[in-house]
Symmetry: C2
Subunit: 312 residues, 2 copies
């Protein structure tokens, strides 16, 4: 059994590659710090991105949402003068309405997610990091912003000063996350190429998460979301700069110190392998850009081989 | 100022004809006994039918919902194994989401409806009969059914034994309904050709509604929803039979005894005019089938002329 930690698009791609090799022997723990209430609906953007990508339903053009989506709801919402800055597709909406209804009935997010995954034919176990509410708040030069207001509404333009994960210190790991960490058959942990601050940060901020990951019995590796100093997608490099760090894969690896045994670098960053090895990390230099599920599976295979090496 | 009482499709058509002639000088009071919570959303079928018809957005093919509707949400909901017996179109859904959100914020249904009408360009005042919850419950040979379960899910197939309007005895008239009844400029009341039991019945069951309509200072007329013993649409005639009444326009007119001064019959029922006149009702025999808004406006003009006659 392999445990992967993931956020949005990049993480979902590697998770899909892993899922192709592992099927039901994969548990993907997903960030829920981005979750919010919008138009009275409960939206879980990262869970949906992972779920859609693993189901093969993701929109590869936009990088978010569903392929073949239609926008009638949004058109009408615009006509009604409602909020339209967060785009909800017509198919996508069914997920939000169904999730909201089930949560309102007292079901846990883990259970709702499992049911949705089953209906969408996702074999891997996709689980929220916690069933307790955690909300990422971005402290910027314009004041505090709720995550989606920073990320979508303001396109990450405000300068980030710090982050906090409201509720994280009291939020328990979801039962399946916790069980995976204790599972005697756990063979490795993969930190997917997701934003270390916005996507992996909330997972690590959960009560006991970091302590338990440090005490892991199986090896752990991270795949760099930063290639040649910039992120393929999203604001990771911009945020590193705003936090006074040097944007780069080495900085990401150091941020995970104690949590990982190996680190996967893109070929463009081959030059960093030596210094990271010197700091005690097993490194793997390979092509990390995932153009499709097949190339994600190739990367996944190499990541699993690295974990296997580390386990011996 | 004219006050119209309406339910769904037939009532909405005449209301649209009246609106074409009267613009903002029309208040349409709409049945909310059909309202229900579905998929966590607050659905007001009759309010929407009236609103869409007055906005010229109604689907004339189906007789319900919006023209040019798309069904992506429903397709996905089906895939998720959610409830699909009540069809919610993608555009239509924006109305339900926006209404649900505003109601959850503490706004009254009257105010939400006014805001939606304004955005859709509806000039007439469309108001729910009450801002308090009233739910039509149908007692059938298969037991009690919530209205939409009887009407949509079971296609009105169970035999109706009786009806009750849960909450009606404690529900106040909405402020605009009440104000219209007291308005010194009120020149007439029109009971639209809606189902007398399912659509007009809940309005009359509201606390003080029937008493105040009996004490009216302006004349009132009803337009028969029954032509030659059958309803153009819906189960009115079937219900009359099940309640042991003779399906027909005369029976409808008698059911409104004391509430109306005039009654509009279709040409096919010309033979009933004499007996209804003998019972003290002013009758108008005319073409009552409304094929489009133009023919609805012709009927509306005749109805207004009858009210004007009765007022002198």
């Amino acid at each position: 059994m392999i445990l992967a930690l993931a956020g949005g698009v990049g993480g979902a791609k590697l998770a899909a590659g892993l899922a192709r090799l592992l099927g039901a022997d994969l548990t993907v723990v997903v960030n829920t710090g981005d979750d919010f209430e919008h138009l009275g609906l409960r939206i879980s953007p990262d869970l949906d991105t992972v779920m859609y990508t693993l189901a093969g339903l993701n929109n590869t053009q936009t990088g978010w949402g569903l392929a073949g989506e239609t926008w009638s709801f949004m058109d009408m919402m615009e006509r009604l003068g409602g909020e339209t800055w967060f785009r909800l597709g017509d198919h996508d909406l069914a997920i939000h309405v169904e999730r909201t209804r089930r949560l309102a009935n007292g079901e846990a997010l883990s259970s709702v997610t499992a049911a949705l995954c089953e209906r969408l034919g996702v074999k891997a176990r996709v689980v929220p990091m916690s069933d307790d509410p955690v909300r990422t708040i971005v402290h910027t030069d314009e004041g505090e912003l709720a995550f989606q207001h920073y990320f979508v509404r303001r396109h990450c333009e405000p300068i980030l000063k710090s982050l906090r994960f409201e509720g994280a210190e009291h939020a328990s790991l979801s039962a399946w996350f916790s069980a995976a960490l204790d599972d005697p058959s756990l063979q490795g942990i993969v930190i997917c190429p997701s934003n270390p601050y916005l996507s992996i940060g909330p997972i690590l901020a959960l009560k006991d998460a970091e302590r338990r990951l440090r005490k892991r019995r199986a090896p752990a590796v991270a795949v760099s979301p930063i290639i040649a100093g910039s992120a393929l997608k999203g604001p990771a490099a911009k945020i590193m700069q705003e936090l006074g760090k040097t944007p780069g894969a080495a900085e990401v690896a150091r941020g995970y110190r104690g949590l990982i045994d190996g680190f996967v670098l893109d070929e463009q960053d081959a030059g960093l392998a030596r210094e990271l090895s010197a700091e005690g990390l097993r490194t793997l230099v390979t092509e990390t850009i995932m153009r499709d599920t097949a190339s994600a599976a190739v990367l996944a295979e190499r990541v699993l081989a690295l974990l296997s090496d580390l386990g011996h």
